[in-house]
Amino acid sequence: MLLKLEPRGETSRAMVYLTPLLAIFLTLIMGAVLFALLGHDPLEAMHAFFIVPVSSAYGLGELGVKATPLVLCAIGLAIGFRANVWNIGAEGQLTLGAIFGGGLALWFYDSDSVLLLPAMALAGALGGLAWAAIPAFLKLRFNANEILTSLMLTYVATLLLSLLVHGPYRDPDGFNFPESRLFEDSALLPVMIEGTRLHLGAAVAVFVVLAAWLILSRSFIGFQIKVIGLTPAAAGYAGFRHSNLVWLTLLTGGALAGLAGLFEVAGPIGQITPVISPGYGFTAIIVAFVGRLHPIGILGAGLLIALSYLGGETVQIQMGLPQAVTGVFQGLLLFFLLACDVLIRYRIRWTLGTPKETRRTAA
């Protein structure tokens, strides 16, 4: 008996959107089995993982706080991915956003101008944009692979941040510890719901999701991105400028990641620290794909991945389970999603005996 994967003629459109839900469902079942095997009541564990973290206003706020950078980065990445532009360096662009925008907060430390925050947001977006411009330039001028250049620039960005918080950004009263001063209120994002940490950045993220949806589905630019992603040759015949789209998608992705970085330092962190993001830029790649590169899907995926982090913390505190549970859940989700994808595109055939090719080589 042999397993054989045969391509299906047409992939079901409904299934493409249903698979994430199916994958979530399978993850939940596997998760419950796993908890049961570990000797915990699966219902209690699932409750602690998925319900407890969001059963209070504060918890819901935290979900928004955690999802905001993921969604912002993922939207930017997805726009590029749709056009076959593989920006892997959102983490670095995020860091530059924090460096630029946060730097402004330190520069105008004494200012209580209402313009400070908008200026910081602009500077943050510009920082990310500038960092993404480097791989765009290298790709178009030297045909350098943007996967490599954007990824490598992430490490440069991290070191640049380190250099700054050990030097010019360092808190003058901080005993030489590598941290900036705490931002003044004028440089902090307003909290939207009293008693939570849900900041204005979350609202901006939702706005970005809707705007991206509109642009991708309704505008000529969105159409160009789609065509170039599906069949680059056709886009060429249609006279779409490939280089324009590379610039556009990378710069947009960079700006959104930069904004995410600024929102982190001006939001929940409130200062510049040597480590700003626990890998949001990389997790956003997963979020983008789980969300099917669709803005609304990304919003859902961002919330789901955010919830998996919060749930991981809760089961640690409540049930003494290790942090690895978070990773296991995220891994299961990806595994089932990819597995479902394979089964949508291919059907499994059981064949008797060995296929011809194998027999020939064997003989």
Binding site: L38, T314, Q316, Q323
Partner: protein, 358 residues
């Protein structure tokens, strides 16, 4: 991969064992926030030993919980708050990067006691504590000064913060007192726990001629590399003998058990008050692991004599004259460095190669 799965299951089993402990009416709840995994065999591992010591000391009168691998950023505040809002009476936040989140949450929960490791911000319900790790570096410096043949010591640093710089300087001063030709090469890995990077740093340093590796990072990877390459190494935070039995000169062991038990007791008795503790070899917060058998007896004696002298207070790691790299006198002859200077140290002593990243 398979190994990873087993590790996960093993860790899960351990987590289960931990939760089974408590079942009394009103146990005191103690929470811990860790920067690394409890299996790092370094920093976090030792803090978790301290947590287990609390459980052992008070049995079902306490209940402990922990959250591991909490990033030092936006997440820390949520985790600390979650512990505070779920009935924990005492919370230990065990990394420098948790300082501001700890202080922030502490303001909102005035009835919960907080203990922050290695920071400097305190309030009515926030204490700080740390160990004088640099005292152990003095012992390591003596061993290195006597045992090196190439006179090149490789030093793996995490972040160039005062705590780490202080360790490098204490080590170098002590080593050069007995071996003025020996020099220290420093590699920064910008992480507290990254076995891959730490191992690579050890390899690079050995390739540059280092025959002794000292680390101020938390994984045993440098010790393993030293063992493979046939050089000596000094372990960090916990006894790392098992990761390099031949390489292991000694380890500087953090021992939080006593402090954690004492502070928990204080909360139970209602006598807890905010303060700052900076414990050295004399408090037991810091210990030396067993010395390698390859070290000649007289060198062991010399190291032990120094340890006793530090405990007795007759030897200070930063006794003047101490000169910085440019030859400027930082501590005058006959004086010793004040704690304030130690806490904000951002300069290298002579004998350390390269410039301190600023």
């Amino acid at each position: 991969m398979i190994q990873g799965v087993f590790k996960t299951l093993g860790a899960a089993a351990l987590g289960m064992a931990v939760t089974l402990g408590a079942a009394s009416a009103e146990p005191t709840k103690v929470g811990f926030v860790y920067v690394g995994p409890i299996g790092d065999h370094g920093w976090t591992y030792r803090h978790d030993k301290g947590r287990l010591a609390i459980e052992e000391a008070f049995g079902d009168k306490v209940e402990t919980s922990y959250v591991e691998s909490v990033p030092e950023g936006a997440d820390a505040e949520r985790v600390i708050r979650q512990l505070a809002s779920t009935g924990h009476d005492l919370i230990f936040t065990t990394s420098f990067g948790y300082m501001n989140p700890t202080v922030k949450v502490a303001k909102q929960f005035p009835n919960v006691k907080f203990e922050h490791a290695t920071g400097y911000k305190r309030s009515d319900n926030v204490s700080t504590y740390a160990a004088r790790f640099y005292e152990g570096r003095v012992i390591a410096g003596i061993l290195a000064g006597r045992m090196t043949k190439s006179n090149v010591i490789g030093y793996i640093g995490s972040f160039p913060i005062p705590e780490v710089v202080r360790g490098i300087n204490a080590f170098t001063l002590s080593m050069r007192k007995i071996n003025p030709d020996a020099e220290v090469k420093v590699v920064w890995v910008n992480s507290w726990y990254d076995p891959g990077k730490e191992g690579d740093a050890a390899k690079a340093l050995i390739d540059q001629g280092a025959d002794i590796i000292v680390q101020h990072t938390d994984s045993p990877a440098p010790m393993q590399v030293a063992q493979e390459r046939g050089v000596f190494a000094v372990g960090q935070a916990s006894d790392m003998t098992q990761f390099g039995p031949k390489a292991h000169l000694t380890s500087i062991i953090d021992d939080w058990n006593g402090y954690y038990v004492e502070r928990t007791k204080a909360v139970m008795d209602g006598t807890w008050s905010s303060g700052d503790t900076w414990g050295g070899l004399n408090t037991g917060m810091l210990r030396m692991a067993t010395y390698n058998e390859a070290i000649p007896a007289e060198v062991v004696e010399e190291a032990e004599a120094a340890r006793k002298a530090i405990e007795a207070g007759s030897l200070h790691p930063f006794a003047g004259p101490v000169l910085d790299q440019d030859g400027k006198e930082m501590v005058a002859a006959g004086a010793v460095a004040e704690d304030g200077m130690l806490l904000s140290m951002d300069w290298y002593v002579q004998g350390v190669q390269g410039k301190l990243p600023k």
